[in-house]
């Protein structure tokens, strides 16, 4: 909390500021291009120096490394060999380890792989989506919008969809701020404003992370039955869902692409959520290796999900006429259903579940039960 500061605290703060200023000044003159950033990272140069000094000496009587008195010390510090357990008063996981090389491997992965390649992948996905839109345009309802509707999603289903959507977007924004902020936002905002934003993002990300797991569970239990693969799904996949060529591809309540996205969300999103929980709760007594591995898994799976969700948002909004209607109002256009989920639409029509626009406007998915959908294996024609 915000308590009055004592004289000792001010002295300590001054000491810290002086040390930080020295470190920053020293590092500003030795910026590395390898990390592609222009800001000092006090740990980078220190660790590089440790590695250089601990390089194994080339055998030979004239090797200067053999004469360096600190070589053994640095070798132990680097701990590349089986890690000797040290002694310390601090009793916690890894507390006997002076420097864990896994930490350096993780840092290099984050700075040299995840940040640049993650940026390329995400930027590439956005550009690809834009290019697809410019080339293909919006997929229209070929028969035109009708005056008939089918109940597609209930209130509860739409509610949990937007629940997970809101949480995902918040987590994505805050996560991207933490991942790319150092490279992208500091030049725009300055280090102080970014520091505040990064702190806010971290706290928000950590708090909303477990809610994603809850939302994922709600989505799973509600939609799992309709996302089990059926006969006919493979044909949909082989023909690219109609994107490849101009021939119509029939499908069920959910097509193969939607089902695959569901399973990706559940499985990959599950890994993202669980690895995130490991990161949020280091108090669980987990070692550095598992924390680093969790971070790698968290970053890679989150990036994969973001790429897929970009496609999902595109096709569910501007990419296809009539696609958003189902999740916004609960009802979808009958012609849209006939063109994209024709086996399901056919069954709804046979069951007399078609309603007028006026009827749909009056209830908007108020029905409590799930929409009727084809029982497994009965519609794959």
């Amino acid at each position: 909390m915000y308590r009055p500061v004592s004289g000792t605290a001010i002295l300590r703060l001054l000491q810290l500021l002086i040390v930080l200023a020295l470190v920053v000044a020293g590092n500003l003159s030795a910026q590395t291009q390898a990390e592609g950033i222009q800001l000092p990272n006090p740990g980078t140069d220190l660790w590089r120096e440790v590695r250089q000094r601990a390089q194994p000496a080339t055998p030979g009587p004239t090797s200067p490394m053999r004469q360096a008195p600190g070589i053994d010390l640095w070798s132990e510090v680097q701990q590349t060999n089986p890690v000797p357990a040290g002694n310390t008063q601090v009793k916690s996981v890894d507390s006997g380890m002076l420097i864990n090389p896994v930490g350096d491997q993780w840092r290099r992965f984050r700075m040299e792989m995840l940040v640049p390649y993650g940026g390329y992948v995400l930027g590439g996905a956005l550009l690809l989506t834009l290019a697809f839109y410019l080339i293909r345009g919006r997929v229209p309802i070929h028969a035109g919008p009708s005056d008939k509707r089918l109940l597609r999603y209930t209130v509860y289903e739409r509610m949990i969809h937007w629940f997970i959507a809101a949480i995902f977007l918040f987590l994505a924004l805050t996560g991207l701020t933490m991942l790319f902020g150092r490279s992208l936002l500091i030049p725009l905002l300055g280090p102080e404003a970014f520091s505040l934003l990064a702190s806010a993002s971290k706290e928000g990300h950590n708090l909303f992370g477990p809610l994603f797991l809850l939302a994922l569970a709600l989505i799973f239990f509600r939609f799992v039955r309709r996302n089990i693969y059926q006969r006919g799904d493979l044909a949909w996949l082989l023909r690219g869902g109609g994107v490849i060529g101009s021939k119509h591809v029939p499908s069920n309540f959910f097509n193969m692409g939607e089902k695959s996205m569901f399973w990706m969300l559940v499985l990959v999103g599950g890994v993202t959520a669980l690895s995130g929980i490991i990161l949020v709760f280091p108090i669980l007594g987990l070692g550095r290796e598992l924390m680093a591995l969790s971070h790698v898994a968290h970053g890679v799976t989150a990036m994969a999900m973001m790429v897929v969700i970009v496609g999902h948002i595109y096709i569910g909004s501007i990419g296809m006429e009539g696609a958003l209607e189902g999740m916004a109002t609960g009802y979808c256009d009958l012609n849209w259903a006939r063109e994209h989920h024709d086996w399901w639409a056919e069954q709804c029509e046979q069951n007399g579940e078609v309603v007028s626009v006026e009827e749909a406007a009056g209830t908007e998915g108020f029905a409590q039960g799930a929409p009727k959908h084809a029982p497994l294996g009965e519609t794959g024609k």
């Binding site: 909390m1 915000y2 509610m159 629940f163 949480i167 971290k202 706290e203 708090l207 809610l211 809850l214």
Partner: protein, 213 residues
Amino acid sequence: MIGDFIDGPLWYLSLTVFLLGVVWRLVAILRVGVAPDFSTARHGGAGGALRTLFTRSLPRRPVFTRGKVQLIAGYMFHLGLFALLFLAQPHVEFISERITGFGWVTLPHWGFILAAEVAFAGLLLLLLYRLMNPVTRLISDTGDYTASLLVFLVMLSGCLALAQAYEGLRLLHLLLAELLLIYFPFSTLMHAFTFAISRGYTGAAMARKGVNA
């Protein structure tokens, strides 16, 4: 400069508006009075009023079966918010320093986080239900959405300031809380106080009639 204003005058102004506004609204309701009941009371009203005050918090079967989501999300939000507001250490310290002069037992940090998670999940689900359900959407007005949005923003800014390291984030949270305090008496958020009057009146009336309601 603006920080001093938020921390000082605006805080006292918002607190004053809140207190006077709530008292004014409650007095206005009580002054309306109740219609005289000339029938012979079968039971005393006080017991019924007190009983209904608590029993109405328990879910009844028809409510639970027809509105599980609202019920569960409603409990999550209200209990979570109560815990956050009155049992979170930063809030207890703030209330102790600025208002009461004394503090009380607080939640451990993990409890604080858990309460925040529960409250956020409840609030988001309730807000989405309000938007998605045609009935609740029809009966909701701008005031309902304003209140929900303000509460959400106060909670969100509070969670963003959890590190307690940035004055700017603390001031943002305080500013939004002050706006909420000013808005409170003039909104449906008054149900935080009026629910007791409403339940008490219903319970007393039903008890006099000998109805178990």
